[in-house]
């Protein structure tokens, strides 16, 4: 799937996944999106991590680190604010799909 299309919805995808799964780390998010979309949506790390860091700076995500020996894993989960924003983003996107269906005259199967 084209990157430009994914880009606009990346934040929505991240927020929604974290809402469903509770907490996840970067690699896990990439894999989850890949399997959910039957390998159609492949997130690039260059898009995912900046988005995660931005959401964290925004205060929508909480990051926790867990270390095993030298290896550190950074888990992300939704903050209270993030939970509200997540719902808003999903609604926004639903409205967007409805509008695009009308504009592009797409018939659902």
């Amino acid at each position: 799937m084209k990157n430009e299309l994914i880009k606009g919805t990346l934040k929505t995808i991240i927020l929604h996944l974290l809402e469903k799964e509770g907490r996840m780390y970067g690699y896990e998010i990439v894999q989850k999106v890949k399997s959910l979309s039957h390998d159609k949506v492949l997130l690039t790390e260059g898009a995912l991590y900046p988005a995660l860091h931005k959401l964290e700076a925004e205060g929508w995500l909480i990051a926790e680190k867990e270390s095993i020996g030298k290896r550190v894993r950074k888990y992300y989960s939704l903050s209270k604010k993030g939970k509200i924003v997540s719902k808003e983003k999903i609604n926004e996107f639903k409205e967007f799909i409805d509008s695009m269906r009308l504009v592009l005259n797409i018939e659902l199967k």
């Binding site: 690699y27 790390e45 900046p50 860091h53 700076a57």
Partner: protein
């Protein structure tokens, strides 16, 4: 399958070589790469091949994107912090300056008295006084010249007489005709000579001219009946008398209409 320590160190070495050294981001990418390599090794791919594949999947651009973004984010955070600190300093200094200015305004009496700014005077006289209605000299002395057009006693021409003259001997007490603030107490060789002007309120002022001495100075407050000076013959006059004027909103009016004996 989990990477052993050497394999993990090798990945760390690769990231360092790419210039990704900031601890926070290195940790996260290292875990990401390790997880990718591990999943490939689970599919029976050898470590070095798994690393090559993972790195090529990742792509050079992605490393740069993540790293640069992180730096911008970091800078933005710092900028925001700096802005907040600067704003705080400004507010702090502003408050101090305001407090100091306020303190100065209330404490500095000289500034208050010397100020010609009428707003300061408004502060002092908020309530309208009664119009000046007292007789300006103590004692039963007659009005010898009325308000209006008259032949000027010295210049011998028709002039408008802006007040009244009361003939009285030198040294007779001159009193304030209503409460007010002395806004003028001047000595002039000609014209009014030694004269005093009292501001009673925003509407009325009264003027006492040709005095021999003054008992008040600019900025003083006087009560109705307070002595402000003595009758004299200073300025443009021949005989001792008091020249008395009332100004209503800046225009001279006939004091006779105000005096209540």
């Amino acid at each position: 399958m989990e990477l052993n320590e050497n394999q993990f160190l090798f990945l760390e070495f690769l990231l360092n070589k790419k210039g990704i050294t900031e601890k926070e981001i290195q940790e996260e990418l290292l875990d990401h790469l390790a997880a990718g390599v591990e999943s490939k090794m689970d599919n029976n791919i050898l470590f070095h091949d798994a690393v090559d594949e993972t790195l090529s999947e990742f792509g050079e651009d992605n490393f740069k994107l993540i790293y640069n973004n992180r730096l911008t984010l970091f800078n933005q955070k710092n900028k925001k912090k700096m802005k907040r600190i600067i704003l705080f300093i400004f507010i702090f200094l502003g408050t101090i300056i305001l407090l100091m200015a306020r303190g100065n305004y209330w404490n500095n009496e000289k500034m208050y008295a010397d100020s010609d700014n009428s707003t300061d005077i408004n502060f002092a006289i908020q309530v309208n006084q009664e119009p000046p209605e007292a007789y300006p000299v103590k004692g039963d002395f007659p009005i010898t010249s009325s308000f209006g057009k008259r032949l000027h006693p010295i210049h011998k021409v028709m002039r408008f007489h802006k007040g009244i003259d009361i003939k009285a001997p030198i040294g007779t007490d001159v009193v304030a005709t209503s409460d007010g603030e002395i806004i003028k107490a001047e000595i002039k060789k000609s014209g009014y000579g030694i004269h005093v002007v009292i501001k009673h309120d925003e509407t009325y002022k009264s003027l006492y001219a040709h005095l021999s001495t003054m008992n008040v100075k600019k900025g003083d407050f006087v009560k109705k009946g307070d002595k402000i000076g003595e009758v004299g013959a200073t300025g443009s006059t021949v005989l001792p008398h008091l020249h008395y004027e009332i100004q209503k909103e800046g225009e001279s009016v006939d004091p006779k209409n105000y005096i209540r004996m």
